[in-house]
């Protein structure tokens, strides 16, 4: 039986932050669903202008990057700093892929004159995805900072709370997208 601990991995401070972020996203998701119920036809019509293939690539990219982060944590637990940094770098690359694909999607919509004020569906679509988009950037910055420190030998097999903290934040970014993807792109 594994020894269980009282606290989730990483610094407790990041978990307070994660809880706050998750509450905001939960509120946004619920707002989306209830507003959709009031404007069913509008939401169903404009949902079809979204590209599910792009969203698929992005979901796969985020899950893969999350997996890489898990490997990075495993690596540092085994004391391998360089391998930890490499896994983190790979995770950041997958994050970058997400940003590129998402930007292509935005480019498509914006070139058709879509803005936050076009209609309620696009208001939610842009708000939710852009808010998440910024979280991806933020997460990449955090991972980069952790990777640099790992590369410089700042963590050990015993002391690596920083890696777990960054990892927890990144998984949160993934987690949000896991709900966002079916809700905005698929459910109708």
């Amino acid at each position: 039986m594994m020894e269980k601990r009282k606290q989730p991995p990483g610094d407790l401070a990041i978990w307070i932050f994660i809880c706050a972020e998750l509450s905001v996203f939960a509120a946004f998701f619920a707002a989306y669903a209830f507003t959709r119920a009031k404007h069913l036809e509008l939401f169903n019509r404009y949902q079809q202008t979204l590209n599910t293939d792009y969203a698929l690539i992005n979901t796969l990219a985020l899950i893969t990057s999350s997996y890489f982060v898990v490997r990075a944590v495993a690596a540092i637990r085994e004391g391998s700093q360089r391998s930890c940094a490499r896994w983190l770098l790979a995770a950041i690359a997958m994050g970058a892929l997400f940003l590129v694909v998402k930007s292509m999607e935005y480019q498509h919509h914006f070139s058709h004159g879509v803005t936050l004020s076009t209609n309620t569906f696009y208001m939610f679509y842009i708000s939710l995805t852009f808010f998440h988009f910024m979280h991806v950037i933020m997460g990449m910055v955090i991972l980069a900072a952790v990777a640099l420190k790992a590369h410089a030998g700042g963590y050990t097999a015993e002391r690596h709370a920083g890696v777990e903290t960054g990892a927890s934040y990144w998984h949160m970014v993934d987690l949000v997208w896991i709900i966002l993807f079916p809700l905005v792109y698929v459910m109708r």
């Binding site: 009282k6 401070a13 932050f17 004020s117 933020m138 709370a161």
Partner: protein, 145 residues
Amino acid sequence: MSETFTKSMARNIFYGGSVFFFLLFLALTFASHQDFPSRDNHEALTETVAKGKRIWETHDCIGCHTLLGEGAYFAPELGNVYERFGNSTEAIKAFIKSRPVDGVPGRRSMPQFNLSDEELEQVAQFLKYASGIKTANNWPPNIKG
């Protein structure tokens, strides 16, 4: 594994979070600016209106009234007063002009500002311009303001 809740992480979250949400605020401000031209009634923003805004400001009208719901709550909302007065700047001017110098016994009363005809026209035009601003859901809820 011992408890970790470090001051340095709390600090990082403070700095990181503040910068993050300030940037987001700037992004939403940018998006707002894209929308202003379609709602802010700038077509009606003539020199007369601009002067009217100065009259509005230099008589501290906001110290009693609300304008689009902001200000003091002592006197009626003026964001839609142009409509409430039957889409008439003349009615607004007549009202301002006719305020008794010594007030109304026991009642609230607007001061007599002794505005010239030109100034009256300017402030009335300003209020007409304000009523043309497209507020969300056509706020206020009804003509009473």
